[in-house]
């Protein structure tokens, strides 16, 4: 809660002004009865019409002042609350951007989304409400208690006798509420996840006719959410009756003992009437009080969830600033793996073990191996999506751990196995590679990637909107766009992770021909001997170990596995 509310700080003055305005309103309300008394005493009783009109006018003016204060308060409090939410959202999002890929394992996408929207809204609402109305209830209670003590301390004591019980009870309820509402938010995460999964797998669900099955799965999470929400809200419902009960019992005590005191003549009647009045005011504020507790508990649960995100240690992402020793041109794009072993964080299966190889500047390395051999994992270590468990990776003569992350990734053009595109125009998507690229550079990249002609064929050309995750493009088109995106980067190292699998042979050949002009060091994961043949060296890995390294000619002679692969791709006669 503390961490989260530190985001109010920049707006403390507008918050204070909002509070002052609210107090002003409250003040007007409180002095109204006094003026009323004036009208009655000095006006009506004294038969003085002048006085009535005079005080009437004062009342009118005060009403206007209160109104104006209220309206201005509206501006100040919504500005404070909205700015707070805005800053908080941005801080959360920026934090998420600095996550390592391993960090993402801790939160599901759906849960991060909930935290960024739903949870922020919860806290924002509470802030807004407290700046406007919520504080009035506690103030009214405190004010009434103080006034009651001023009137008759002995009797007023009965009003606060229940206070410790109420206090302990409220603390208990808040704790309960926080844990229950925390659970509710977790259920929202679950719901979101099932939903997201379904949206992504819509074709599959339809193809296998699993609509009913999925609906029942969703019903299950929705019903969990329902049950937990009901539980949380119902628990909170105990607050009101308990508060009322304690308070009303105090009131009865006041009446009982008050009457006794009146009988014995120790207390004037007026005192009792006044205290009863205050007691009733306190009860009147209680409905608001219960409301506040519920909101507070909800907000606290949400705040804790957001703090979880903000408190994540960024292992690599923020580490290592650039250490001097710029790479020499000689080593441009050079890459060395030295005894690299790797396990995904939090698992104990070794994905890569003792991998060593070297790619010289401008060389082309083909990486081959069976499904699940560790090819994609190997590539992901280079831009430091994950850090090696053992060994070192040197890029341009410098250990990747020593590189500034931004600079390292700047020199790498990466084409992932699954082409991911974003909502936006085709040109926008290619420009991910280089935001500042001129249009002719974009065209160069798309021509090289053999996608230019297809784009030109679209009615709106480069302005064609790419739908959610590229649904309106064919698999091959997506792959080529994602290659163009990487080419635009003009990096020293180009990594293609089996990213031509959906291309037909002719297009693919044209692509490789175009890429042969590239001066960048190339790492190509491939299944195809034909592609591997064009590489300077081939790295063959199996179950995370290097089993062969050399040119096509070498491997055909020496590697049994390579021969097996080659045979599998021979023309069938």
């Amino acid at each position: 809660m503390k961490v989260i509310f530190s985001y109010v700080k920049p707006y403390k003055w507008t918050a204070v002004i909002a509070l002052c305005l609210m107090l002003m309103e409250l003040f007007v309300e409180l002095i109204q009865p006094l003026i009323m008394a004036k009208i009655i005493d000095d006006g009506v009783r004294a038969q003085n019409q002048q006085m009535i009109i005079q005080w009437g006018a004062v009342l009118l003016i005060l009403s206007f002042i209160a109104f104006l204060a209220g309206v201005i308060n509206s501006y100040f409090s919504s500005h404070t609350a909205q700015s707070f939410a805005f800053d908080l959202r941005n801080a959360l999002f920026e934090k998420i951007q600095s996550f390592t890929l391993a960090n993402y394992q801790k939160f599901s996408t759906a849960s991060l989304i909930t935290r960024l929207t739903n949870d922020v809204t919860q806290v924002q609402t509470v802030l807004f409400m407290s700046l406007r109305i919520m504080l009035r209830a506690p103030l009214a209670v405190v004010g009434s208690v103080v006034m009651a003590f001023v009137v008759n301390a002995k009797l007023a004591l009965f009003l606060v006798i229940g206070a410790p019980i109420i206090f302990v009870f409220l603390i208990f309820m808040v704790a309960k509420g926080v844990s229950y509402f925390g659970k509710v938010q977790k259920r929202v995460d679950r719901l979101n996840r099932v939903l997201q999964e379904n949206l992504q797998a819509m074709r599959l669900v339809k193809a296998y006719l699993r609509g009913k099955y999925e609906a029942s799965r969703f019903e299950q999470v929705a019903s969990h959410l329902k049950v937990d929400t009901v539980k949380a809200l119902r628990t909170m419902e105990y607050i009101m009756p308990v508060l009322l009960f304690v308070m009303n019992m105090s009131l009865l005590a006041v009446l009982w003992f008050g009457t006794k005191q009146v009988a014995t003549g120790t207390a004037p009647l007026g005192d009792i009437v006044a205290i009863v009045n205050y007691a009733m005011r306190i009860t009147g504020s209680f409905s608001m009080f219960a409301f506040i507790i519920i909101f507070y508990a909800r907000a606290k649960a949400s705040a804790e969830r957001m703090t979880e995100v903000l408190a994540v240690d960024n292992e690599v992402e923020s580490a290592s600033s650039s250490i001097v020793g710029a790479s020499s041109d000689m080593k441009l794009g050079e890459l060395v793996f030295h005894n690299v072993s790797f396990q995904y964080p939090g698992t104990d299966a070794t994905v890569l073990s003792n991998v060593s190889f070297q790619v010289k500047s401008g060389e082309k390395l083909a990486i081959m191996g069976a499904t699940g051999a560790g090819k994609s994992t190997l590539l992901q270590l280079i831009p430091r999506f994950y850090d090696v468990t053992e060994g070192q990776i040197y890029v341009e003569g410098k250990d990747v751990q020593q590189w500034d992350l931004q600079e390292l990734r700047d020199i790498i053009g990466y084409v992932p196995q699954q082409s991911l595109l974003f909502t936006g125009s085709i040109a926008d998507n290619v420009r991910w590679g280089d935001t500042k690229a001129e249009m002719d550079e974009v065209l160069n990249a798309t021509m090289q990637a053999q996608i230019h002609a297809s784009v030109e064929d679209f009615p709106s050309g480069y302005d064609t909107r790419v739908g959610q995750k590229g649904v309106n493009l064919s698999g091959g088109q997506k792959q080529r766009l994602s290659i163009a995106r990487a080419l635009l980067r003009k990096g020293h190292i180009l990594m293609l992770d089996d990213s031509t699998s959906a291309l037909d042979v002719k297009t693919e050949q044209a692509l490789w021909d175009a890429l042969s002009e590239e001066s960048a060091t190339m790492l190509v994961v491939t299944q195809k001997i034909r592609t591997a043949k064009g590489a300077d060296h081939i790295l063959l890995i199996d179950e995370g170990k290097v089993v062969a390294y050399g040119s096509h000619e070498d491997l055909v002679q020496t590697s049994e596995l390579y021969q097996k692969i080659a045979i599998s791709q021979q023309e069938v006669k």
Binding site: G56, F67, G70, I113, T117, K206, T259, A263, G265, Q569
Partner: protein, 610 residues
């Protein structure tokens, strides 16, 4: 008044014209929209209406008890406290205790049940939207961001939920209290009552002024929230790319933009709706002033007594409090309606059409395309598929080849009836696809998609997805056939390993093996394989080829593959180019004719002897 036009630098969102626009709309269908939205919500409450009536009765009880309490206290003060009288006080206090207990119980129970009713309603609303999703055509999902749709299920429904929880009871009890106090006021002094009532027209006018502004703003706010959600979902799902291209700054800027839009609409919506209690407060004070000032003058001339004025100011306050509550509730109801409208608009989406004449049909396996034209979007200029004609006999294996973007996947999607043809006919066993129930059709098909998708559950359940009643043995058998068994056994928990969303435990190729196993277990009449083996190494591919061949026996199969080796034993090869079917025939025929296919083939194979 520069501040009010651009406070804290917030650009106004609604212009005077916009507000006028709202007014105009409101007179027309908008008002009806509102009512229909509320009416639809009411219909969803459905079987809980009985309980709702009980809740209403309880509200009545608690309202009466709430009024009775102070009355009894007044009596106690008058009759006992004033005279220091203790005898009989006990019984009165017992009565008071009774009233309070009853009040507490009725308050508790009405809320207790109302929470149940509200959440059940929300649950039904959610699940009906989800169930409806299952019926919507694929094209609906193509057009929308996932995150945006998710926002409707959470943020919009949340707005409805919080309203249902509290507002319903509030509104009802406010109305009750309002009526009660009005009666008391009239009995005290009709003249002062009428004076107090003068604020009501002002109130209505003010409320209208405000809601004309807040209604569109709330809608805008919910949609800004949806847009933000959409962006977040996409960015986080594509985080690998963001990182690889170090575009963090770019997405941050984009997020900031969307976040700013939400802030801006939020500011105006909150500010304007914040007027409501302030206006009510003001009117409150005004009525106080009227009673005190004018009442004072009236008292001067003996029209009313001082006592009446004192009591009246109290009642005037009591009169405006429920009005105040109502006004506040009105506000949350507004935002709920904005949310509900967005949710209902999903339910109004046209679901996949089904001809009333459509029948169940057990497929034999013949598939015919007759002059099929297709475009994904009506606005699209050229056709994605142009005049496709072919017939595939039962049990045949068809290979679709051609350049990327030639329309191969589209043909498979039309066979699976994810989309409807624009022109022409797709026939199964000579029956137009529109005459066959979708259910019946799809349950006789299995589809291995280009991007294998796995659910966040165990390996076993992912395979079983193909046929839910498959036994564990059948699952393992299918995995063995698909050559997946070996790697599954190496996973931490074997078949019980839970796969994560990003599936880092297994590689892309392994995902494909699993989705082939899933298709194997489905045991379909028609099999659609779209690049099913593209990420699988060729050695493994050869190994599962046999399994696939066996699978394709006796079934009509459509296969897309770029490695032409995988299609070598197809019965028919369809060669696609730019949406047209340019060649069709047996492999041998096509090679001999020396057409496009022959060229492709010669480019693809690798000869060891080279």
């Amino acid at each position: 008044m520069g501040f009010f036009q651009k406070p804290f630098g917030y650009e106004p969102i609604l212009s005077k014209e916009d507000v006028k626009q709202v007014v105009k709309k409101k007179k027309g269908p908008r008002a009806a929209d509102w009512k229909s939205t509320l009416w639809r919500l009411w219909k969803i409450v459905d079987e809980q209406r009985m309980l709702l009536v009980i809740v209403l009765l309880l509200v009545m009880v608690s309202s009466i008890m709430a009024l009775l309490g102070p009355y009894v206290i007044g009596k106690i003060i008058d009759l006992y406290v004033m005279h220091g009288e203790l005898s009989g006080l006990g019984s009165k206090i017992t009565l008071l205790i009774g009233i309070y207990v009853l009040l507490a119980i009725s308050l508790f129970l009405q809320n207790y049940w109302m929470i149940g009713i509200a959440q059940q309603t929300i649950y039904r609303l959610r699940t009906s939207v989800f169930t409806h999703f299952q019926k919507l055509p694929i094209s609906f999902f193509d057009r929308r961001q996932h995150g945006e749709l998710m926002s409707r299920m959470t943020n919009d429904i949340e707005a409805v939920s919080s309203t249902l929880n509290s507002s319903f009871i509030q509104v009802f009890s406010s109305v009750l209290t309002l009526g009660g106090t009005l009666i008391i006021m009239l009995s005290l002094s009709p003249l002062l009552t009428i004076l107090t009532m003068t604020i009501i027209p002002i109130m209505f006018w003010a409320m209208r002024w405000i809601t004309r502004r807040t209604a569109p703003l709330f809608k805008e706010q919910q949609s800004a929230m949806g847009a933000l959600n959409g962006m977040v979902e996409e960015t986080i799902s594509g985080q690998r790319i963001v990182k690889a291209f170090s575009q963090e700054e770019r997405v941050k800027a984009e997020f900031r933009d969307k976040s700013l839009r939400l802030k801006r609409t939020g500011f105006w919506a909150q500010t304007y709706s914040g007027y409501i209690p302030k206006v009510m407060n003001f009117l409150n004070n005004m009525s106080f002033t009227i009673v005190a000032g004018i009442g004072g003058v009236l008292a001067l001339y003996g029209h009313v007594s001082i006592g009446v004025i004192v009591i009246f100011t109290e009642y005037a306050r009591q009169f405006t409090r429920p009005l105040n509550d109502l006004a506040n509730q009105f506000n949350t109801v507004l935002s709920a309606i904005a949310g509900a409208e967005r949710v209902f608009s999903l339910l109004d989406e046209q679901s996949e059409m089904e001809m009333s004449t459509a029948k169940n049909h057990t497929l034999v396996g013949q598939v015919t395309f007759k002059h099929v034209f297709f475009k994904y979007d009506v606005a699209q200029e050229s056709y994605t598929l142009k005049d496709i004609n072919f017939t595939v006999e039962p049990g045949q294996t068809v290979a679709l080849v051609g350049a990327t973007g030639a329309g191969k996947t589209t043909i498979l999607q039309l066979i699976a009836r994810f989309y409807e043809v624009t022109k022409g006919e797709v026939l199964f066993d000579g029956i137009n696809v529109q005459q066959i129930e979708r259910q019946a059709l799809r349950c006789q098909m299995a589809f291995v998609l280009q991007d294998p998708f796995l659910f966040e559950t165990t390996v076993r359940e992912n395979i079983r997805y193909g046929r839910l009643d498959a036994s564990d043995e059948e699952v393992i058998e299918a995995a063995q056939l698909a050559n997946a068994h070996e790697f599954i056994m190496k996973l931490k928990d074997g078949y019980d390993t839970v796969l994560k969303a990003d599936g880092r435990e297994i590689s892309q190729g392994q995902k494909q093996l699993l989705s082939i196993a899933r298709a194997l277990i489905a045991n379909p009449k028609i099999l659609l394989l779209d690049e099913a083996t593209s990420s699988i190494d060729t050695v493994t591919e050869l190994a599962i080829q046999e399994a696939l061949d066996r699978l394709m026996q006796g079934r009509t199969s459509f296969v897309i593959a770029h490695r032409l080796n995988t299609v070598h034993n197809a019965d028919v090869i369809l060669v696609m180019q730019k949406g047209e079917l340019v060649e069709a025939g047996l492999q041998q025929e096509l090679i001999e004719s020396g057409g496009i296919y022959a060229q492709m083939l010669s480019a693809s194979t690798y000869h060891l002897e080279e």
